[in-house]
């Protein structure tokens, strides 16, 4: 997975709760079979008017928020479907960090897997973060994963929690599948213990156990 160590940039504020993945990227854009080029469809229904022009009222269409690489938002960000197209679109648009009061589980994992850092801060801390800036943009934030803090331009610091395992994976940018494949002996052992009379203990639709290199149906 792509790595993440630290990041400096300005943050756009999307002061909304329960932003769901249907808003982040509507379903008509889920039909592609690659991972690239979703940024132009990010927040599509909020961003564009029916005639295709940008809607000037939308938070991310403000002159000052353009170029922001951090998104600051409310509760339950990314709820709804499991579509990884949502973080693909956020990343392609330019967001590297998302700071929210809370995230939906699957979305949180999907961010990490794509090298976007999802950070949970309390409502109070998020208010503090944006307190003395104009509402729409917070300039000069610094985010450090190793030390687990977000710092404001004036030096004020907000600490955040992060799972130690995923932190290590992100800091190193390791390929998750390669790391797991190092557990081959353990996986094999588990499988062997679950084969009873040539059958998978938990049942499968093929009747018999098909070993890992035996792709024949």
């Amino acid at each position: 997975m792509p790595g993440f160590k630290s990041h400096s940039g300005s943050a756009a504020v999307l002061d909304r709760n329960h932003v769901d993945t249907d808003q982040i990227i509507p379903k008509q854009f889920l039909k592609k079979i690659d991972k690239a080029g979703y940024g132009e469809f990010l927040f599509y229904d909020w961003r564009y008017l029916p005639d295709g022009r940008e809607d000037a009222a939308f938070e991310l269409n403000q002159e000052e928020t353009k170029g922001a690489s951090i998104l600051v938002t409310g509760k339950n960000f990314g709820c709804g479907s499991s579509r990884e197209h949502a973080p693909w679109a956020l990343k392609d648009y330019g967001f590297q960090v998302i700071i929210a009061e809370s995230f939906a589980d699957i979305f949180f994992n999907n961010c990490v897997k794509n090298g976007i850092l999802p950070i949970r801060l309390s409502q109070n801390e998020i208010q503090q973060l944006g307190k003395d800036s104009s509402k729409q943009v917070i300039e000069n934030l610094k985010v450090d994963l190793k030390e687990q803090f977000v710092a404001k331009a004036d030096g004020e610091i907000f600490r955040f929690d992060f799972d130690p395992y995923w932190k290590k994976m992100l800091l190193n940018g390791w390929d998750e599948i390669s790391v797991t494949l190092q557990q081959e002996a353990n996986i094999k052992k588990y499988e062997d213990e679950r084969i009873v009379n040539g059958q998978w203990e938990f049942n499968n639709h093929r009747g018999t156990f098909i070993p890992r290199d035996g792709g024949s149906v």
Partner: protein, 478 residues
């Protein structure tokens, strides 16, 4: 220490357990569909990797499938996605029940009806409503595409064990109240965040009395309550459903399996991080009026009005929802007229849903201003329904009777609700734009959707039916 069913499912699948690391969990069943898998297969190919256990993967296509003239996918990108799945399954040796299969259907409908979904398994799918399969006492949850690739390559996932919540539902449901109303009521009362970070076990006498299809409806929408997954301990009702299913264990093997499945139930002394108790008799037929599933009220209710004393955040979200849905506030729910009715989706497209809705519809006509469709969840639901003559009841009333797929639940095919129009829908999400840009979705049970189709507006289904008629035999499954 006493264990919950969640502990037992979890512990029996841990491959690696080390400090400061998530557990490495083994996955017994990986369900695959066309939308969230192409990039995962492409990733395997890029790195020259294989699928570790093709025998534990099972694929179908559902999201993009037309429900009229199903073999003719006009949208080129949809067609490419479907063809890509065919190619990937062929190349990696994965069983696919595709468009021309008699078993094709919504992934969460066919897993159970084929006997792939069984108690004791870990089940994943690149789809959030994988929670549905928990109804059988499986640990089932949705994953993203990177995780799909990881499971294909390793048959495992690194997972931190979530907290556990017991939602105990006791008592008898009132007349005309369904499993769908229970889960809508739960989300309305406790919010879309209540389950975040938890796996929920649904327990209690109400749940025990539910058929498998009702249990699936309940677990299906636990994701709308924010939960990672939900489970129900298996019992005789589960085994009766599973018996004889195509891929389920047979004969002596089945008997032995039932015995071991019976040991999965939470032990009486086991503790949960959180418990919620619900009195089933309080629940009424529910209708969502806004743009999250928690914006939901009994059909007898009034839509909330903007309240000057609420916080600015609440004001804003209420204002946005009312504007999107075209309400001023204070409207009576049972005076809202609808232009579309959709009976379908992985929440409510199974045979018992269609049977119940048909009882409401039988002998009546769809309101002239309403466009109403029934989309069975799978080809076998469709066949079984036709054997019972349900299609005739719906067609005679003026419904359209379609082919199986996700359809208007998310409108990736041609089944879209036009901008500004209202739909009474038996699906699970009422997010802005979900059923089409500007479409206004109201989530309801199948019998409430049927009632709305006949009256052209939301109607308390209880007023349409005498006790006698509504007594639908709880159906043990296809």
């Amino acid at each position: 220490m006493s264990k919950t069913i969640i502990d037992k499912l979890w512990d029996s699948h841990v491959v690696v357990k080390e400090e400061n690391k998530p557990d490495l969990l083994y996955i017994d069943l990986h369900l695959i569909h066309e939308v969230t898998s192409p990039q995962a297969f492409a990733g395997l190919r890029e790195k020259d990797r294989t699928v570790r256990r093709p025998d534990l993967c099972f694929a179908t296509m559902d999201h993009n499938i037309p429900t009229v003239d199903r073999f003719n996918i006009k949208d080129e990108t949809s067609r490419l996605q479907v063809e890509t799945l065919e190619k990937n399954c062929e190349e990696f040796g994965i069983q696919l029940e595709g468009l021309n299969s008699e078993q094709q259907g919504i992934v969460h409908v066919i897993g159970p009806e084929l006997g792939l979904t069984l108690p004791g398994k870990t089940i994943v799918c690149g789809d959030s409503h994988t929670s549905t399969h928990g109804a059988f006492g499986a640990l089932a949850f949705g994953i993203g595409t990177s995780e799909v690739e990881h499971v294909l390559a390793t048959q495992t996932l690194w997972q931190n064990k979530p907290k556990q919540m017991n939602v105990r539902i006791e008592g008898e449901l009132g007349f005309g109240v369904t499993a769908k109303d229970v889960i809508l009521w739960f989300i309305a009362k406790y919010g879309t965040n209540v389950g975040t970070g938890y796996i929920i076990e649904f327990s209690g006498s109400t749940v025990r009395s539910f058929s498998m299809e009702e249990r699936m409806t309940l677990c299906n929408m636990s994701i709308e309550a924010g939960a990672k997954a939900s489970v129900i301990s298996p019992d005789d009702i589960s085994y009766e459903y599973i018996a004889g299913k195509r891929f389920a264990p047979k004969n002596q093997d089945f008997k032995q399996k039932c015995e071991s499945w019976s040991k999965l139930a939470s032990e009486p002394e086991a503790t949960f991080d959180h418990t919620i108790e619900i009195n089933a008799s309080e629940i009424e037929p529910m209708v969502t009026w806004g743009t999250t599933p928690s914006m939901c009220l009994p059909v007898s209710g009034h839509i909330p009005a903007e309240n000057p004393s609420s916080s600015s955040e609440e004001k804003q979200s209420l204002h946005n929802a009312l504007t999107y849905m075209g309400f001023k506030g204070n409207e009576r729910i049972d005076e809202i007229s609808v232009q579309h009715v959709f009976i379908g989706s992985c929440t409510n497209s199974r045979l018992s849903d269609l049977i119940e809705a048909s009882k409401v519809v039988e002998g009546s006509k769809v309101h002239p201003d309403v466009h109403a469709i029934v989309v069975p969840g799978s080809q076998s639901v469709k066949r079984e329904a036709e054997k019972l003559g349900l299609h005739k009841i719906f067609l005679d009333a003026g419904f359209q009777w379609r082919e199986s797929g996700c359809s208007m639940c998310l409108g990736m095919n041609d089944d879209i609700v036009p901008e500004g129009e209202r739909c009474a829908s038996t699906s699970n999400r009422n997010f802005a734009g979900r059923q089409g840009k500007g479409a206004r979705t109201h989530l309801v049970s199948p019998i409430m959707a049927a009632a709305a189709a006949l009256k052209g507006k939301f109607t308390d289904v209880r007023s349409l039916l005498s006790d006698q008629q509504l007594e639908v035999n709880r159906y043990a499954g296809v």
